[in-house]
């Protein structure tokens, strides 16, 4: 996609999300808007740009949609459908959320525990990737279960508006298809890139809010933006945001599991840095629900656990470096 085309599309998506009511609009409303804009066709034809534009815009507007399901399904090689929801790993983890007990393979019964977007509340069917299991020759597989056999509860948590649901499946009958061994890794990578874009959008939004506040808020006869202590906090926040955007560019140019993991780890670090500085600059008003800052803070906290937190990913990468005794540079000029 050309730069101009991409910018135009980004603007269209932003406007559409704003017109749909922004943060107040629920997942279904924004899903409808995005479907109208051709989200699924875009995801199919230009996945990188589609994910970048839509998830950045969602993060920036604090919008809630269920498009993460489409990203994951498409990476798994399944055609995204609005009536099929995906079970995501539990908070802070990225292992396949499902499991087939060795003695149940013949009976095709699965267990699963994880999270889901708001799509789980309206879908008829749940897709769950299951672990290779314990038995010899056991392969990862993708299972489809009816929503009626799953326990699905809306998560209130820190951000009820995020639309996440807790899903539990116990010994349920499932239609099972084998899955390529690398498919889950691809799904995690795609999910991480998408969520990291959303966190980048949210981080930009926090910085914009804090910057505007610093320029407007007058103390001791001058805008607080003139105080170096305030300026330096906001400068640090911008450094973090720009680093994340660069890591996402790298993950798009060199798409693989490691660059996606790194982008998600940088996203977690960035969101924390930006939130801490911006919350301090916003001070009293940022501590209230009268100011929109809190929505972005809470959303970023919720998103940090989707497909692994910065700390967990960094630890995992560190284990890999020590195991291989190699520090790859990954991206070249």
């Amino acid at each position: 996609m050309m730069d101009a085309e991409r910018a135009l599309l980004a603007e269209t998506v932003r406007d559409a999300i704003a017109a749909a009511g922004g943060p107040a609009a629920g997942g279904a409303a924004l899903d409808a808007v995005l479907a109208e804009l051709g989200w699924r066709e875009m995801l199919d034809a230009e996945p990188r740009d589609a994910i970048d534009i839509v998830f950045t815009a969602l993060g920036n507007a604090n919008g809630t949609a269920t498009v993460l399901d489409d990203v994951v399904m498409s990476a798994l090689g399944a055609a995204p459908r609005p009536d099929v929801a995906v079970i995501l790993p539990r908070f802070g983890t990225w292992d396949p959320p499902g499991r087939i007990e060795a003695d149940r393979i013949d009976a095709s019964k699965i267990d699963a525990r994880g999270l889901a977007t708001g799509r789980a509340a309206t879908a008829g069917e749940l897709l769950v990737v299951c672990d290779a299991g314990a038995g010899p020759g056991a392969e990862p597989c993708i299972a489809s279960v009816a929503v009626s056999v799953a326990a699905i509860d809306a998560v209130r948590g820190i951000d009820p508006e995020a639309g996440f649901h807790r899903v539990r499946v116990e010994g349920a009958a499932a239609a099972i298809t084998p899955l390529d061994a690398r498919a889950w890794e691809s799904a995690v990578a795609a999910g991480r890139r998408a969520v990291a874009h959303q966190m980048a959008g949210a981080s930009r939004a926090m910085l914009t809010l804090a910057g505007a506040h610093a320029v407007e808020r007058v103390q001791f006869g001058r805008p607080i933006a003139r105080f170096q202590a305030v300026r330096h906090r906001l400068a640090e926040a911008l450094v973090a945001v720009e680093a994340l955007e660069a890591a996402l560019t790298a993950a798009g140019d060199e798409p693989n599991a490691v660059t996606a993991a790194l982008a998600k780890a940088v996203a977690g670090r960035t969101a924390r840095t930006v939130a801490a500085h911006c919350q301090q600059v916003l001070a009293g008003i940022g501590f209230t629900t009268e100011h929109p800052f809190h929505r972005f803070l809470k959303r970023a906290m919720a998103l940090e656990g989707i497909f692994g937190s910065a700390d967990e990913i960094a630890f995992h990468l560190g284990r890999g470096l020590l195991a291989s005794r190699t520090v790859p540079t990954l991206i070249e000029l």
Binding site: A243, A250, A314
Partner: protein, 381 residues
């Protein structure tokens, strides 16, 4: 030449000539050893042609994208063949001569710098100018008192002049306007360091190395045709260095930092705490490398680099601190108490790393620039 072909060809050549290129001193080596090693490596690279890619033909180069020479600098840093801090002087000073010197002068001297026949230094900072370069006061007046002069007489002092004691030439900033003229009254000269009246007094750094020096100028006469750029146009010369310092030099520094993390991972114990520390440093290095890559691509596409490179500067300084902080955490006592050769190396490098947030504009100056120019927070006055 395509950059990927260059990278692959260079890697093969470096492998093939490993023994010839490898340092011939035992670590940590003295600064004399490091300088001799760098000049030897440059000479081998120049003779084999690798050092000439990315530089224009009229100064002895073979043409091609400047990214080729960025790759070269990174490749030799990644193999520990030269110190990127010393090597970076090529990357910042050769372009200055190419852009601002008489063409015949540039054609004469740039090949001598590239081939390791000469060392040059950068006479910018003064005792009175830390982060505020435009307040410099080293004075140049027309010889005989009137213009047009055949020469200029320079009086004053420079400080933090890296490798001045090894240098054959100096790119020098002088005050030619009134004391209040700030950046509008500065002129650059290309000065031979053996000119009578120049005294060099090396300074010992916190790590025991005498890498930089005070340089005194007492009635030093410089020919008028050694002026770089226009009279009073020295600020443009100083600022022209920024894009190189913030792109190719950073890419080389990043290669060096990855190599440091590799050396650390080579010897670190395999436990959870180490994994956490190493993993976090790796994430931070990757974010920096990703950012610097975007900057190099923008430069190669013709963008003018400006205030946004302050972000690269903050990231490179933070990552350098992070890598050496990781060294201290993972190898307890090595920096503080280990008297083996490797202890000496880690100690010297650790102490040097503390300069990362100070040189080239302090971290605070970078944040001021980011706040004013990139975040539109207005003036802080």
């Amino acid at each position: 030449m395509e950059i990927a072909d260059f990278r692959a060809g260079l890697a093969a050549w470096l492998d093939e000539h490993h023994d010839e290129l490898a340092p011939q001193y035992s670590p940590p080596g003295t600064l004399d050893d490091h300088i001799a090693q760098m000049q030897r490596v440059k000479s081998l690279l120049f003779d084999s042609g690798w050092m000439r890619y990315g530089w224009p033909e009229h100064v002895g180069g073979l043409g091609g994208s400047p990214m080729l020479r960025t790759e070269l600098g990174a490749a030799i840093a990644a193999r520990d063949l030269t110190d990127p801090g010393l090597y970076s002087l090529v990357e910042v000073l050769a372009p200055t001569l190419i852009d601002f010197a008489r063409p015949s002068l540039a054609a004469e001297v740039v090949p001598r710098l590239l081939s390791g026949a000469e060392m040059w230094c950068q006479g910018f900072s003064e005792p009175g100018t830390g982060s505020d370069l435009s307040s410099l006061s080293c004075r140049a007046v027309p010889d005989g008192g009137a213009e047009p002069a055949s020469g200029w007489v320079i009086n004053g002092q420079k400080v933090w002049t890296s490798l001045a004691q090894y240098s054959d030439r100096c790119v020098l900033l002088t005050r030619t306007g009134s004391a209040e003229s700030r950046h509008r009254g500065i002129t650059a000269f290309f000065v031979d360091m053996d000119t009578p009246g120049i005294t060099v007094a090396p300074i010992e750094m916190i790590n025991g190395v005498r890498e930089f020096a005070e340089v005194y100028f007492d009635d030093v006469v410089v020919p008028a045709d050694r002026m770089l750029g226009e009279l009073h146009g020295g600020w443009a010369v100083a600022m022209s260095i920024l894009p190189y310092e913030r792109s190719s030099c950073f890419w080389q520094r990043i290669a060096y930092l990855y190599r440091r993390l590799q050396l650390l991972v080579d010897v670190a114990s395999d436990d959870d705490r180490t994994a956490e520390v190493v993993g976090n440093a790796y994430v931070q290095l990757h974010a920096l490398r990703a950012r610097s890559r975007v900057t190099q691509h923008r430069l190669a596409a013709g963008a003018t680099l400006g205030a946004e490179t302050s972000i690269d500067k903050v990231l490179v300084a933070s990552a350098e601190h992070a890598v050496y902080d990781a060294v201290r955490r993972i190898l307890p006592g090595v920096v503080e108490m280990d008297d083996s050769a490797s202890g000496d190396v880690w100690r010297e490098e650790y102490l040097y790393s503390r300069a990362a947030t100070i040189y080239g504009g302090t971290a605070e100056i970078q944040r001021n620039i980011i706040a004013r120019r990139l975040l539109d927070l207005g003036s802080d006055e």
